[in-house]
Amino acid sequence: MDLFLQTLLNGLLIGGVIATFTIGFQLAFGVLHVIDFAVGGWVVLGGYLGYYMGVGLGVDGFLAIPVAFVLFGAIGYLIGPILYNVRNSRTARPELMALALTFGLFTLLRGGMLTAWGFNTHSVPTVLSGESLAVGPVTVPLIRVAAAVFAIAIAGGLFLFLYRTRYGLAIRATAENRQNAALMGVNIRRLSATVYGLYAGITAMAGVLMGAIFSVNPEVGLRYTLFAFFVAVLAGLGSVGGALVAALLLGVIEAFVATYIGSSYSLLAIFGTLFLVLLVSPHGILRHGL
């Protein structure tokens, strides 16, 4: 029973961190209509930033979080318009071309990181690494708690931004119907740049946390892209509220498979679930929420 509680808690805490970047992913899909294969690449880049700031500069890994947001937010802001142009280009199949572009970007990031940093695994050092907290029968690593708190704060901030500001209203309007939003005077091109920047920044922040909880190497990007897809399929593409629930579910599934069956089966289990969901309820279990 203790192991059960422990696993459940671990899963929920990790699910919280997964939720942060999958919410961004859903938002980017809603506005840009692009499935971003590069999502795992941003997570890993964030992790490496944390590692190099922690080991190279000797500062705490948590300080890398705001830096990651600004740095990758800026990079995303520059990439956003390119993606927008391809998605709305006058070639015969812009949807396909945009998909290929993010796939290429992901491959480029993965290959570039492997070339620059090799296959070795690193971990982001923080003040909380190695500390843990005992709650009754359950011990919780403090870093996971901190990460989950951080994730909740980021997600909360994002929801406030989306539902309580005029800019958030413009984003939601665009996600719902871009033609009508454009008629209301929303500059969709610039909005797309902002949303992609916001998403890349949030994803990189989540990457720092993931790097502190687990570890980071260029190949784990695939795993995070898969996570984002899993959540997107479960929640329905573009659904932000559903992403939160689906991400928690994913965290729990992963934790239970890793604890009770074996961690080499966890990806298999996630893929299996993903596939079953696509079979049974192709448009997502949790439906729309934005």
């Binding site: 390119i82 015969a92 480029l108 993965r110 290959g111 033609q179 593409l237 192709p282």
Partner: protein, 328 residues
């Protein structure tokens, strides 16, 4: 496209040169030529669905790997089937998997299909890595057969057949028209009575089956396979780059792109060995082609200007009353 005499002569010249190649070059270059033919064929097989039907398959390596593993398992010590008997078995297994994957996901928009195929290939890597009968991560060996000419002609035959099928089915038949119609506007294609789900599934199965044949020959050729070497995402990446580079949905584009990229691959391999840098180059190539050469090399030679998506949407939208804009 009317067949021009110059084009026909070029085609005959290429076939003659390819048929005589084993007598002209040594084994080293013959191996490279075999690889180039394999990739040209694989690119064509990916292009059937990606180029003609407009559905991107990010897990095509799954079918290449299935063909390779079926052949490897059947030719192993316990069963010891002859090579040519394993081909039909691989085709049947691949077709079954393609139907299982394709039937539910091809009904959805392309994005879900891309995710599902990508996930499927990763599942197979994981599955082959943890199972005992596939030899786990260590992989599985085949009885060695060291006749370079046999493999050259096997790949040549498979590639020629793939292009012939593509030409006959997608360029010269009603089936090809249906496929192109659903690519250009699916609701309109449905409205004129095309069973789009069935046509897409048929195209997908065909594309998967051809990839599996190349996988089978590849496994026998290299005599040793492991999950990464036949299911790996890099294999799909290469096919995507080759087709994009050559020209999506053109008959000869994949051959051009396939041979061009394979030569680049060998040059990098010769100078730097098996390097991660190649993955970065592949990625950069995809990005650059999408941004600057969306119609590929074939687009440079084609005088027909690709019909603009927006114009097409508007025209068809007016016809079927769905209004402008594609459903997304």
């Amino acid at each position: 496209m009317k067949p021009s005499w110059a084009g026909l002569l070029l085609l005959i010249a290429v076939i003659v040169v390819l048929a005589l190649l084993p007598m002209l070059v040594n084994n080293y270059w013959l191996r490279i030529a075999t690889g180039a033919l394999m990739w040209a064929g694989l690119a064509c097989s990916w292009n059937m669905l990606g180029g003609y039907a407009g559905y991107i398959n990010f897990g095509h390596s799954a079918f290449f790997g299935l063909g390779a593993y079926v052949t490897a398992l059947l030719m192993g010590d316990r069963l010891a089937w002859p090579f040519f008997a394993t081909l039909p078995a691989g085709i049947v297994v691949t077709a079954l998997f393609a139907i299982i994957i394709g039937a539910p996901t091809l009904r959805l928009r392309g994005a879900y299909f891309a995710i599902a195929t990508w996930a499927f290939a990763e599942v197979l890597i994981q599955f082959a890595s943890v199972m005992d009968f596939t030899g786990g991560i260590g992989g599985i060996g085949l009885p060695p057969f060291l006749d370079e000419r046999f493999f050259y002609f096997a790949m040549f035959g498979a590639a020629a057949l793939t292009y012939l099928i593509t030409w006959a089915l997608f360029e010269r038949s009603r089936f090809g028209l249906k496929v192109k119609a659903l690519r250009d506007h699916e609701p309109a294609a449905e409205a004129i009575g095309i069973n789009t789900s069935l046509v897409k599934l048929q195209t997908f199965v065909l594309s998967a089956v051809t990839a599996s044949v190349f996988g089978a020959i590849f496994a026998y050729w290299v005599t040793f396979i492991n999950p990464k070497s036949v299911f790996g995402g890099d294999i799909t990446d290469q096919m995507v780059v080759m087709v994009l580079l050559g020209g999506l949905g053109s008959l000869w584009g994949p051959a051009l792109g396939g041979v061009a990229l394979f030569v680049v691959n060998r040059i990098i391999w010769m100078y730097w060995g098996d390097t991660a840098f190649y993955i970065a180059i592949l990625g950069a190539a995809i990005v650059l082609v999408v941004l600057f050469l969306p119609n590929g090399i074939a687009g440079l030679f084609s005088r027909r200007v690709a019909v603009s998506g927006a114009v097409l949407d508007k025209a068809v939208g007016n016809l079927v009353g769905g209004g402008p804009g594609r459903p997304s």
